[in-house]
Amino acid sequence: MKTDILVVGAGPAGLGAAIEAASCGADVCIVDENLRAGGQLYKQIHKFFGSKNHYAGQRGFQIADALVRRTEELHVPLLLDTRALGLMDSGDVAVLRDGKAEAVTAKKVILAVGAKENMLTFPGWTMPGVMTAGAAQTFSNVHGVLVGKKIVMIGSGNVGLIVSYQLMQGGAEISAVVEAAPEITGYTVHKNKILRAGVPVYVSHTVAEARGSGHVEEAVIMEVDEHFQCIPGTEKTIEADTILFAVGLNPRTELASMFRCEMTSEGALGGVLPIHDEFMRTSNPRVYVCGDETGVEEANSALDEGRLAGLHAAASLGFENESSRERIKEVQNSLMELRSGKYAAKRLACKERIIRKGAMYYA
């Protein structure tokens, strides 16, 4: 198979990239290992923040539908159940489809493969009933299966708060949200939704143990000191059949590494990630990165980063229209706006550092 631009990942970043590049006239192909397009958007049943150009007020799955519709209108091939395996010696990208590996020849590759969830370890953590918040969300919102009736959520970032809310909508009880930091770390509006619903929140606490015979029956929580060490004697047990981890995500960098993209590390964005410039170009001029893979933020930033990568990759191949340059500026400004405000200051500083490093490859 041959294409101008291969996009790996059909989440908000990948779809944004494909739509912009195809709109400029480039031949684009998207591959995604999942059975449905939309990435994490497809699992989100809550209304999104942002502005009109990010489909704000729409629910995540509705945004996924709108983006997929747009790729269809642009006749972009969207190959699902197709996994990008890596880079071949020939420079082609190997993809696995219908049990067979095939080579895709692409002038530019846009990696938008997202992030993976972090775990904590404690006695009992491998027992059935302990899983990530994202797994529980996939079960309930994609497959219609509630993972438990009495749930302890570890972590009070936006993922922990949103998934708690969604599981309650599905009929579960959230027995506790446990947060090691001295206060809830997610958006205040998400926090207030679960407080109004009467969910008990334990800040400066962690789960020390999962107990049960063959399956989780209770969570042992303990208070932590300012160094996040458990304070002896503070054990409390909470009846629960499920313990979920919402303790952050880290960028999926395996493919970027194979493409020899230089890496850096930014703790506030999830750890090791590929360096990129202000157009999402990596140290390898053939490869762009966007979305959570370049630092864990949220869907609107992923969409805009994808749009930017798509526009620039297309332009670099000569696919430019009269409004391309203006559009690039517009998307960059939109990203800036999403990263403005006190709450985003840390993310903005990280991104500025990454982009400064990225610019050095093209000075």
Binding site: H46, K47, F48, F49, G50, S51, K52, A56, G57, Q58, R59, Q62, M168, Q169, G171, Y187, T188, V189, H190, N192, K193, L195, R196, A197, G198, V199, N300, E337, L338, S340, G341, K342, Y343, A344
Partner: protein, 148 residues
Amino acid sequence: MHDKKRGLPVIECCQEIPCNPCVSVCKSGAITMEHLTSLPKLDPEKCTGCRMCVAACSGQAIFFQIEDYEEGFSTITFPYEYLPLPEKGQTVTAVNRNGQAVCEALVLSVDDRKAYNKTRLVTLKIPRRYKDEIRFMKRLPKGDEFHG
């Protein structure tokens, strides 16, 4: 002039996050914002009391209140996305911002419109002295639907 009988939105958006559906949905221009991450401002004179902002706020941080509903009573309207739904005429437990019970309250309406995008607006009749406290209702247990 703003009419106390018609009511006003109560905007409890207190964090600068990038979000503005309340501004986009307000046809009378009563809600404005400087930048995407600014906090929304309400001009009570321009508000028509349509309640679209209550359903549109992605953070569920806008409520609607008729302070002077009846002698000694106010109303509070909030977004509700749980099942089972309460029904008009049902008595439910009104709760405060921390989910703690405040008092029993009568459900005046449960509104569902296409433009609300699957969010329902529940309106409770509440004693006026609790108007700054009550912001939600105790969720109804599954299988305990109201048959009044």
